[in-house]
Structures are given as C-alpha cells and as structure tokens.
C-alpha cells in the first residue's frame, strides 16, 4: 500500500487539522457527484478508496495517542452504480439498453435503442444518457429536455436534466474554496450521518 501521508499530500509532521483539511479537499475532488455518468467514474472511485484508506490509516495510527476521527465520506454506496437502484424502469429492450450503458458498452446501447420504433420518454432519456457518456453534451441535453417534456412527473429524468443544467451553468474548478456551498456540505453530512447510523454509530445528533 502507498504511504498514506503521500496519498493525502501532507508531511508526517502535519497537524490533525491539516490532515483533516487535506482529506476534505481530496474527498471534494473525487466525490462521486463529480463523476456522475462519467466514463472515468471507476477510476475516481478507486482514488476515493485510496484516500479513505489513507485517512483511516493515519487516524488509527494517531488515535493510538488519542484523538482523530473516522473517514466521513463513505462515497460510493450502491445507489451510485448507474441506474440499478432507481425505480420504475421497464423490462425488455430498455432494460438491456440500461445494462449496456452501465457497462459502458455504448455501441451496443446505441444498437438496442436504434432498433426500438416506439419512442417514448424513456427512450429519449436513455438516448440522453448514452450521448452524455459519449461526450455528445449538446445532444444529451436536448434528449433530456425532450424526456422531461414528455414525462414531467418522472424524477429520474428531471434529476438528469437538473444535473446537466447545473453543471453547465459555470466552469468547474477542482477545489472551489470560494464557492463552499452550504447545501452541498449539509447534504454530504446527512449522507455521511445515514451511512454512520447504518453501521451503528451516529455522526450528527440532530438527524
């Protein structure tokens, strides 16, 4: 295993605060939200795992002398494995298309979707997803818009369109120190709290 201090990019003599900050910065960088529908998501997941392991290793070592906290960013729960966790998708060719998209087999997904003649909202949504992963952002956005227009009540389609719209709103910087978003922090803490509670602990007493 790599030296945990070099994984976090800190020196061995760094204070607990510095370590925590380094961990938070890296977790913000490799957070799964940044890699939604991204072909490199698995690499980011690997990186996140390394960062978590490094942080845990350092805090374990230091907690032998008292203090330190657990890695908070559980990161990749099952719900992030493509579309498997979401409700309401139909069986048949659409199921196959989703599986192909999840497996990054975009050519196969395109073939399946191309063979479908009755094109409802789900077809447009899956075309959007396929194009997004391929890097055809303009097409993806148009497909998502059409899917939401055809089926405004579907949360999955709306979520995808919202993600595209919010990502498109401004250029992206990896450590956006100035744009510390309170919603993001609160949201992340709530997720971390849920994960912690599932494991028997309690991160935030208030929820």
């Amino acid at each position: 295993m790599n030296d945990p201090y070099s994984v976090l990019g800190v020196s061995r003599t760094a204070s607990d605060e510095e370590i925590k900050k380094a961990y938070r910065d890296l977790a913000r960088k490799y957070h799964p939200d940044n890699y939604t529908d991204n072909p490199l998501a698995d690499l980011a997941q690997e990186k996140m795992k390394q960062v978590n392991e490094a942080y845990d290793s350092i805090t374990r070592e230091r907690s032998a002398y008292g203090g330190g906290t657990q890695a908070q960013y559980g990161g990749y729960s099952a719900g992030n494995d493509g579309y498997s966790g979401r409700s309401g998708y139909s069986a048949g060719p659409y199921y196959d298309a989703r599986a192909a998209i999840n497996a990054s087999d975009l050519n196969r997904a395109e073939m399946i979707l191309g063979s479908i003649t009755e094109r409802g909202a789900e077809w447009y949504f899956l075309m959007g997803s396929l194009n997004f992963r391929r890097g055809w952002m303009d097409e993806a956005q148009q497909y998502y818009q059409r899917a939401v227009a055809m089926d405004p009540s579907n949360p999955e389609y709306r979520q995808a369109l919202n993600y595209v719209n919010s990502s498109a709103a401004r250029p992206y910087r990896s450590t956006e120190a100035s744009s510390v978003d309170p919603c993001r922090i609160c949201g992340s803490l709530m997720v971390a709290d849920c994960c912690c509670e599932m494991l028997g602990g309690d991160l935030c007493r208030c929820c």
Binding site: K29, Y30, N34, Y35, N38, P39, L40, L43, A44, K47, N131, G135, W136, M137, D138, E139, Q141, V164, N165, S167, A168, A169, R170, P171, Y172, R173, S174
Partner: protein, 297 residues
C-alpha cells in the same frame, strides 16, 4: 483553430511561466529536428499544452540559440517522447488543416494553403511515416467531416466528434497504459471545445464566404444571444469533463500550468470568443502572446 488553449499568464507562478516558455521553445527545436524548417511554423500554445500533458517529466533543460533569438541563448526543455509526439501531431494536424483550407476556403486562403503545403510537404511525410495510424485517423476524420458537410448535418456534436476523435487518438502514441484512458477523455473534450470555439469564432466569416460551419445547421444563419448561451453551457460541460479527468492524472511539474489552462485560461478564452470580443482584442492579445513567449524586444 489554434490559440484557444493557453494558460492565463496573470495567474501563473513565475516558475510555471518559465517552464511554459521552455517547453514552447523545446517544441520549436523538436519540430525543426523532426519536420524540417517549415515545421517550426506550426508551433503554437495548443501543441505546447499537449506536450506538457503527455509528459512524464522526462525533459532535460538545455540552452539554445535560435533564428528568432540569435543573440542570447535561451533555456528550453528538450528530449522525451512527449515532445516528439507533440511535434509529429502538430505537423500532421497542420497538414490536414491546410488540406481542409484548400478544399473549403476562400480564394486567398486557398492560395496560402497551396504555398504552405509545398513547404510543409517533406516534413509532413517524415512525421506521417513516424505516426502512420494517427495520420490515417486524421485523414479519415477529415473525410467524415466532409461527408457531414455535404449532408448538412444538424448535429453539432457529430461534427465536433470528428476532430475530437482525432485528438483522443493521440494517447495511443505513448507506450505506457496507465494514463491513456484519462488522457483520451481529456483530449476528446479538448478537441470538442476547440472545434466548437473555432466554429463560433469563424461563424460570420464562413456565412459570408459560403464555407461550411456546423453552427449554421444547428442554429441558423445568425447566432442569437440565446444560441451563444447554449454554446457557453455546452462548453462548460466539456470543461468539467476535462478537469475531472485531469484530477485523475498523477501530479508532475507541469500540473500547475495545465490546471491553470483548464480551469482559468480556457474558460476565459471561451467567454471572449463567444462574446465576439476575440476579434477586437487581437492587438492586446498579440502583446499577451509576446509576453508568454518571453520576447523582451
């Protein structure tokens, strides 16, 4: 097509600025070695960015004189596969750009293209022989683009894919595997961004001359403010993909410059181009180029 991918020099550390200039000079020397004298004229910031991106830090610092700066030796970064690959790609891409100008340009453009092709031909032959798959990929991409032109394709992404795919094939020129996936994604979106910016920049001129421009079939004969906003947004999406990919690369000496280019330089450039100010600011930016190259006179 060139000049959009550059760091914001205001935000660079002095060490990074010097490094950038050294790679630029190094690229120029490498072009001379691999492609002959005419190849030197294909040096640009975009290919400098490419060299730094592909680099694994193997370049050596040297001091060289050159025809542009005959009086004083200047530090440059030389050696390594990254510079060789960037030089070859620079010549091959320049060649196919000339071919495209020849097929689709106005009278003046075609004349210059004909002249330039004669001068670049030998260098192109050498570089294409060194990178046959990249060269044939570039030829195929240009052919595909021509077909899309004829069919008046309304998909901006499909047209951009031709050029983006060309750049995404560059990591295959490196032997090591680890970074390839990430580099492919990064270069794909870089190519896509450059293609779209170029189309936006040349839109009015292309409409006037009757040349192909993918935005014409996507949006119409005029670009409204809403259209420009759509373009800005789609560029932001590609930029995000580039930065998230870049984050997965191991850090090296050039990381600061590369990050600057992707998070500050390129977005700045997109804003300037899409607002139409790029044409007006050419004079100021010429000064900027001189500063980046380190020309003191």
């Amino acid at each position: 097509m060139y000049g959009y991918v550059r760091p914001s020099s205001d935000e660079l550390k002095i060490r990074e600025f010097e490094s950038f200039r050294a790679v630029y000079c190094g690229l120029c020397h490498t072009l001379r070695r691999r492609g002959g004298i005419a190849a030197r004229f294909t040096v640009n910031f975009d290919m400098t960015f490419l060299a730094m991106l592909l680099s694994a830090g193997e370049e050596q610092r040297c001091s060289r004189r050159c025809p542009r700066h005959p009086l004083r030796k200047r530090g440059c970064a030389l050696g390594g596969r990254a510079l060789d690959a960037a030089a070859d790609c620079s010549v091959i891409l320049a060649w196919w750009k000339l071919e495209d100008d020849l097929a689709d340009g106005g009278f003046g453009k075609r004349l210059i293209a004909r002249l330039a092709r004669v001068l670049l031909h030998r260098g192109y032959r050498r570089c294409a022989a060194a990178r046959p798959s990249f060269d044939s990929g570039a030829a195929a991409a240009m052919e595909r683009l021509r077909e899309l032109e004829k069919s008046e394709c309304e998909s901006l992404d499909e047209a951009a894919d031709c050029f983006a795919g060309m750049l995404a094939a560059i990591p295959d020129l490196l032997s090591e595997d680890e970074r390839k996936r990430v580099l492919r994604q990064l270069l794909y979106h870089l190519g896509r961004s450059v293609y779209i910016l170029d189309a936006a920049d040349d839109f009015e001129k292309d409409i006037a001359e009757g040349s192909y421009n993918p935005l014409r079939y996507r949006f119409g004969a005029q670009l409204t403010a809403e259209n420009r906003e759509t373009l800005q947004r789609t560029l932001n999406l590609s930029q995000r993909n580039m930065v998230t990919a870049f984050q997965l690369l191991p850090e090296n000496d050039y990381s600061g410059i590369l990050e600057n280019t992707l998070t500050i330089g390129l977005p700045q450039m997109s804003r300037v181009v899409l607002s139409g100010d790029w044409k007006n600011r050419r004079k100021i930016l010429r000064e900027h180029v001189r500063r980046l190259r380190g020309d003191t006179v």
